[in-house]
């Protein structure tokens, strides 16, 4: 076993290549720049293309354009750039264009703390663009998982014709770990659904049984229309409710009916627990540590780590918290995911351990919360 010392950002770039990403457009921003730098070097080596655009709005637009041209495409940014990308992320959701957007979170709002970690974009990743739309958001907790989740992000984007957001944080992005990457044969790579129907039958937004209409690239002899307006099955603008409503229903259904595939989580010693800690991203590392220490002291603490943040794994959280008195949610924000946990398990059960000052939530802070949580209910 020969491990390689690698940064989270590098693992993301390599995961993208392994997943078949052949186009990257981006704009430099700490702590995501390393991803662009690696891909500027790596993409042309595998016949792919890299472009540094004039800003993040253009980067997101170019990614969508490239995906329409048939390439698996990605961009990477951090908070300020992620804010700029929002309108076009909505376009990708509306036009059902597969793409991956990496947000290596840093403390905000605004320029905030460029080199300090944060999980402050949890809600922005869900609701950053206007209007109701489904979205998939994954959040890795280690360098190796960053590689795996990047591959899965591409697979889900292509499989479900949707933008997928990889919500990293500065901690994971800049951290170096020794990782063993899987061999290319061991990596499952999914291609987008295509079709061989004659062009005149092709409907880019057809209500297919799978709810994911086949997508054909531009230039393949299937001439069709793509728009950010509500559209009919052929992609042309419509204001008819009998065309709009089925579209809305379908795009939510295509995600909801595939939750088994989309929801990634890890539950540990939940069964006999009296307290559960729910964490994600870099904070999950502190949380896991704290849970171990608490168990060593005899506390019955379960641990639920969420890899998929959106769609929010309601049932998973509900089940984990069923017979539990306290749920602790540590995160590097002032309670963004905790809001969702509260919605599912009830406000009184939830203890937030939040920080938005660029500092990590420490194992000690989570441990203290566990101790407080236990004594509060004893």
């Amino acid at each position: 076993m020969t491990g390689k010392l690698m940064q989270g950002d590098e693992a993301c770039a390599e995961g993208a290549i392994a997943a078949g990403c052949r186009f990257f457009a981006g704009y430099p921003i700490t702590p995501a720049t390393d991803i662009a730098e690696v891909l500027a070097r790596r993409l042309p080596q595998v016949g792919g293309k890299f472009i540094q655009m004039e800003d993040e709005i253009a980067s997101m637009a170019a990614v969508i354009g490239a995906s329409v041209g048939g390439a698996k495409a990605m961009t990477a940014t951090s908070g300020p750039g992620f804010s700029l990308m929002q309108e076009n992320i909505g376009y990708a959701a509306m036009a059902e264009i597969p793409c991956v957007v990496v947000d290596v979170q840093r403390a905000g709002p605004s320029t905030g703390l460029p080199t300090k970690p944060s999980q402050g974009d949890v809600m922005q990743s869900r609701w950053g663009t206007h209007g109701d739309h489904p979205i998939i958001v994954l959040s890795p907790s280690s360098v190796r998982e960053t590689f795996d989740f990047t591959v899965r992000a591409f697979n889900m984007a292509e499989k479900y014709r949707t933008p997928v957001i990889l919500l990293m944080d500065e901690m994971i992005g800049h951290m170096r770990e020794k990782v063993e990457l899987p061999s290319p044969e061991a990596i499952e790579v999914v291609e987008r659904v295509s079709t061989s129907v004659p062009p005149e039958w092709y409907k880019a937004y057809e209500n297919t049984p799978s709810d994911v209409p086949p997508m054909i690239s531009f230039g393949q002899g299937y001439r069709y229309h793509i728009t950010g307006l509500f559209h009919d099955e052929r992609g042309f603008p419509t204001q008819r409710l009998d065309e709009i409503d089925p579209w809305i229903a379908r795009v939510f259904r295509k995600i909801e009916r595939n939750l088994r595939d989309i929801l990634i989580y890890e539950a540990d010693e939940i069964e006999d627990a009296e307290i559960v800690v729910i964490a994600y991203g870099a904070t999950a590392r502190s949380a896991r540590h704290a849970v171990k220490q608490a168990r060593a002291r005899g506390y019955r603490v379960g641990f639920l780590r969420l890899g998929t943040l959106w769609p929010f794994p309601e049932e998973v959280v509900e089940r984990a918290a069923e017979r539990i008195h306290r749920v602790i949610v540590p995160e590097m924000n002032l309670g963004q995911l905790a809001l969702e946990v509260e919605r599912v398990v009830g406000r009184r059960k939830v203890m937030r351990v939040g920080k938005a000052n660029g500092e990590m939530v420490t194992p000690q802070e989570v441990l203290d919360a566990i101790v407080r949580g236990v004594s509060a209910w004893l």
Partner: protein, 287 residues
Amino acid sequence: MVVKKQERESLIHERYLRHHKKFPHVWCAGCGIGIVMGAIVRAVDAVGLSNDEVAMISGIGCSGRMPVYVDFNTMHTTHGRALAFATGLKMVRPEMKVIVVMGDGDALAIGGNHFIHAARRNIGLTAIIINNNVYGMTGGQYSPTTPTHAYATTAPYGNIEQPFPICQLAQAAGAAFVARSTVYHARELSRFIAQAIQKEGFSVVEAVSYCHTTYGRINKLGSAVEMMRHLKDKGVTQKTFEALAEEERADKIVRGVFVDRDIPEYTRLYDEIIARAQQTVANGRTA
């Protein structure tokens, strides 16, 4: 068999417009945008392109609605960003002819940054800017090409800003081909567009149009016919323009090809990057 000119025209429409599906269109009766659309499909026909190899990408605005009606690979994007979407498409499909249709607000206000950078990169896109000096779709607000002193719904006391000279901007930013004509000079416009499409590199055609519904009404310029007549009277060739005395020049619209230069095109240059990167790998260096 010789096809009469008129029959040929109808054939062109048959071939390039989404005839049975998408008409009537959204534009006001008498609007110049449809003429630009006609000029584009005639240019595509003259160049001899198949519908499949053409992509038309637009932004948002009355001009941005054009892709619905033409039978190409079409994408109606977000306001101002059409060139950036098109850049991604062109990068992965360099063999396609990508025509980007934008309004003056779309291309030069919200999309101004993308415009100068697409020109600077000299990426092989054809940008067609339909300049009606106003935000048509949103009802007559001033745009980056509204003349100083003109009125708009958001310039009720007159516009105090200077208009962008689109062609000079494109030239300075690095475009390989830059031309201007008007919707009155539709044949010439079509010819310029054909040249632009064939040009390797970033090509810009400013199609001077008008919006009688908003700008014309607010500035009391009359009907579509009168605004069209204005283009006829004021639109002069470069040669004519140069022969004019200084005081006669001010209100003229100069038509012609202003830039036609050979500069390496971006996607071609990127192919060289790929070759270089792969050579590095072949040499056993991981770069």
